[in-house]
Amino acid sequence: MIEDSQNIELLRITTAGSVDDGKSTLIGRLLYDSKSIFEDQLSSIRDYSKTNRNQEIDYSLITDGLKSEREQGITIDVAYRFYSTPKRRFIIADTPGHEQYTRNMATGASNASLALILIDAKKGIVTQTRRHTFISSLLGIRHFVVAINKMDLVDYSEEVFEQIVEEYKAFAEKLSVESISFIPLSALKGDNVIERSTNMPWYQGSPLLDYLENVNVAGGRNLIDFRFPVQYVNWSGNEFRGYCGTISSGVIRKGERVIALPSGRTSKISRIVTYDGDLDYAFAPMAVTLCIEDDIDISRGDLISRENNLPAITGNIEANVVWMDTESMQTGKDYLIKHTTKTVKGSFSEVRYKFDLEKIHRIPAEFLSVNDIGKVKIELKKPLYADLYSKNRLTGSFIVIDPHTNQTVAAGMISKYKQVSPDKACESVKSKVIRYPGDKKEKAKSDYDRLSMQGTQCIYVDDEILQKGLCRGIAVDTDEYSRIIEGLCNIATESGVSVVLCTENEVSLE
């Protein structure tokens, strides 16, 4: 059993639903029957049900976690549920059906590879069903299981089931969905949840749990395009220098030729370092440390890739954006775009359209408000190394941060980009000399720190450093001193490295 746990896979599921469609009962049953709720948790839920809800057990209390929610009787956020069977481990992102629905559904779907859609057999397909299916598909989920619940209330009728299946299929045809399975069940009575139902002999498929344990969702992982956003440079002054990060997609082998963006320099992978020993190869989503044969300068926010398989280098993108903040989008305003390990400034230049989430069609819009989803154009102040979201979830997604409130105001999925040539991209991050008078050392140093943190390649130079080395014995106000500074700055900037210069000397540069 313990040895087997090496082979247990992790499956992330997203689900959503309104209060009375039986979602909580269904999840409660899955959790309870897989022994994922403990007796003491259950007993406190039973106590609360009896005193406050006047019923034996209210399963929704398992999923409504916060006191502030229980008092109001609503669920306000995404809750994560865990259960495991000997075959698989599951994380269910459970999102409420009403308040903040779009934002929460998008959050839940962003890491999931399977969507569990719940339909009340008595009510059939409702707005909620369409909305959840649409958002899940927009967030890149390709596998759906549709649980048609409360079959006990429609006399376990095959006809009712088939009718809902037909209607759902007609709607889902328009979305990019790879597989849909339909399961008739009753969460309350336990039909087709864990055990096959004897009440619906006409249904030949698997019960829900069996389906979840066996469904193949492996197709979602991109193992072709190697992308490695550099997250952390592991160097503390010693001999070792490694680039830490999580492989977004693809496979990398020791000895392979790679290219670093934005510098465009190429080299070979000399080591793939992990605590458990060096590896011959590594693949997504492993977190590793790469060492490079040649001494090329790479910082956080750079991306390591293969020469013949580069991401787009782009300063103009089009994306599906989910707006999450109560403050609406302002076009033209500078926001921060965090994409992989890089944060750049950018602004929304145009809203092409937004989606009417009731009818799932496009309508014109000037801006997006909370819980809106729309297609927008974004202009970036510095280029990103990106892929289309449909090809690559991690290099195709970003979040938008309001620099004044620090809130995460939106999430985006890249659907189109304008590619710039590597030369041009590098030009926009062109190195420069930033000057400070000799008495502004503190300020200069903090500017240098800030630039380095943002991933700008730069060096720091002041009179003290110069006089210890290059300019030893040379007076600060001499021409010779100026010439040395000029020479140093030229060497640095020509190699794409900026200089933060803090000197009393009055050299004129450019």
Binding site: K67, Y80, D276
Partner: protein
Amino acid sequence: MEEKEESYHLSNLKTLEAESIGIIREVAAEFENPVMLYSVGKDSSVMAHLAIKAFYPEKVPFPLLHIDTSYKFPEMYEFRDYYTKKHDLDLKVHRNEEALSKGINPLSAGTVKCCAELKTKALLDALKEGGYDAAFGGARRDEEKSRAKERVFSFRDKHGQWDPKNQKPELWNIFNSRIDPGESIRVFPLSNWTELDIWTYIYHENIEVVPLYFAKKRPVIEKNDQLIPVYTDENPEETKEVMCRFRTLGCHYCTGAVRSEADTMPKIIEEMMVARHSERITRVIDHDQDSSMEQKKMEGYF
């Protein structure tokens, strides 16, 4: 010779490990002065192990902070000093000396006040004194109801408090780490781990944990279905020797043991798999009142 075929399968534990290492590195890259809270328990052992892995072969680039109530089990202090020395970790210890000098303990002050002074206040003071802008905690979403909705990056205002209604959405693996001066975040790299994951990982990775987790005959007093370990000479007549172990570790006043024969790692995992009670049942503080954890979190406790 046969050529070895490459496999691209990543197990549940390795997936969780990669995710946690990614989170730890992101914080080290984006914050100026992070610290890792270290409670000496099994989750802390796993978290410290992940930090060591994240920065190998270099040292962990931030300190570990133990908020010490002074009432931890002696075995815990011994293990803490041994483990942090062995792995060359920079350990900092903080106690609320003022409250301790007044002789506060759960018997005299009650558990609520005692926790508020020795844990919450001590933690907030230590974070402020150290000027830490990010603090890693070992909390998991499966532990307790109010934690199920916790973010990985959990924002705290200038007073270290948590507002459940004002948390930032988290999508994919992109974390918003923007804060204003004076504000801080708590980071939970083990968010998606379950208790069973923790134990199976400890087993597979050979991670050392405090011996109290293993069953052994220990002197205890039985009170309200809880086995309270005896560390003083009070009421010796009630004391009996019971084969037991601890599922969580806290202060000896407030942490009960469970009857168990599990004296090896595989036996603990086997016991876990059939467990019908959550680990927090042996924590006296969660039972004080409904939602007591949510309340503590809002005030600044983890």
